[in-house]
Symmetry: C2
């Protein structure tokens, strides 16, 4: 695996999955994180063929959820598709409250119960599940798991086959972050590390994330925690931003790679020679 992985969401507004794979390959990147709905758009056979042609692996598969009542019935097919794409892990997306519901207590119990059932399926199918705690500002509508503490607690209760993904955007503010990264590392459950940045001001709760270096997150410090906790995986670039989505995807990816090279001292990234042949 190269040291950098792009999540397709970063360029999805202007690059379909086939273009995204091509752009990644051009940059010597051999691993990507992908989205089920984007596979559907280009057709699964085409998506699989493109991955094979580029010799590319899949890190994260987005996503299982939201956990609406009828969802569990469809989850098995989604997990099987993630397995066909050889995904290292599948993101769980709990969703938020049900209509008219108030408070998170019941929703959290429900999500934990559903994750337990999904884990049984995932073990049978042979894919790992990943809990990515989202920012507390998204607790009502996107994820009822809003801290790495909760994610670690849940993984501990459930046993093997499930781990966590640390996204700096969602967790940078948490005074427990270092301790919880270490805790996840000791248990061998750090599955991914997503980078982007928190802008000041932030104008939108969902689509105003920053390019690494443009915001106020101490990215090298959090990378240091991940490395000290034993995480050897790639740095995954995932930026949800209307501003960056409007830019040329190739330019965006080049800027992102350069920023990572400037910020992460341990980063080993070389634009592979064979990548040039794909141009």
């Amino acid at each position: 695996m190269t040291a950098i992985v792009f999540n397709h969401a970063t360029v999805r507004e202007r690059a379909d999955m086939l273009s995204f794979l091509h752009l990644s390959a051009e940059r010597g990147i051999d691993t990507v994180s992908i989205w089920g709905d984007e596979i559907t758009k280009v057709g699964e056979a085409n998506a699989l063929a493109a991955l094979r042609d580029h010799g590319m692996k899949v890190s994260g598969y987005n996503r299982i959820g939201p956990f609406v009542p009828e969802y569990l019935g469809r989850a098995e097919a989604e997990l099987e598709r993630a397995a066909r794409f050889g995904a290292d892990h599948v993101f769980l997306f709990t969703g938020g409250l049900t209509e008219g519901e108030r408070g998170l207590t019941a929703a959290r119990w429900r999500a934990e119960d559903q994750i337990g059932r999904l884990l049984e399926m995932a073990r049978r199918i042979g894919v790992k599940l990943a809990i990515e705690p989202l920012h507390p500002m998204l607790a009502g509508d996107r994820s009822v798991i809003t801290s790495l503490t909760s994610a670690n607690d849940l993984c501990e209760a459930l046993g093997p086959g499930i781990g966590v993904v640390v996204d700096v955007y969602h967790l940078w503010w948490d005074e427990r972050l270092e301790a919880e990264i270490m805790r996840a590392g000791r248990a061998g459950r750090l599955l991914g590390f997503h980078v982007n940045d928190w802008l000041l001001p932030t104008r939108h709760l969902l689509t105003d994330r920053g390019m690494m270096g443009d915001g106020i997150i101490d990215l090298p410090s959090i990378e240091g925690m991940m490395r000290r906790a034993g995480f050897r995986g790639a740095i995954e670039i995932e930026i949800f931003s209307t501003d960056w989505w409007a830019r040329d995807p190739a330019e965006l990816m080049d800027v992102a790679i350069a920023r990572c090279q400037g910020l992460f001292s341990d980063l080993v990234y070389e634009r592979a020679a064979q990548a040039v042949q794909l141009l």
Copy 2:
């Protein structure tokens, strides 16, 4: 103290401090939370006279901060003014990062150090300080204290004269909320309870709070925690909302009171007979 307190911020766009006091008195409310800048607008002598004429007390005084480098020099005068207004407690507003700074570690150390110095002043002057943890989405620019856990830790380290205010908007999502409210209650440091609501969707990080009952916070449940923790104070209504600021302040206050009566079973509120005479 009546069971309901209004924070002037709730109506400040269309009611200056004198109008706000009149509107409160009309509704039989005998305690308010006030703002230093609003006192300045109407003149301190006028503000003090109006409070006296209405026989009204002050709960919270907003605010000490942000803690920019030159701030501590001005803090003493602000604390003294809070004392002249007989405020029960003074809100600390740490502010966020300094220009170019990344991550919260240094900013948190700085804020803790400054709060320690402010507490010495406040003890001398005879006012209580209140830490109100703000939502993690405001960590970068408004408060580096984003959990009741941190606030409790800090109060514990600093000793008497400082407590916490629980605002449902900032803390409703935290899985530690009940435990930390109980911890604060055991230490006798629950100084205030602010209500409003979290709307879905939330369109702005600062000015899109909801009226109680319009959002997804389980308000009766959090009030229950406060009461079980021994909090006997008033319910303070504090809504930062461009939508509600545009409405008639009297109407807003009546709606807010009615919502509180519907949501909080223990609430004792009666529009006092003498209030009508003020109309």
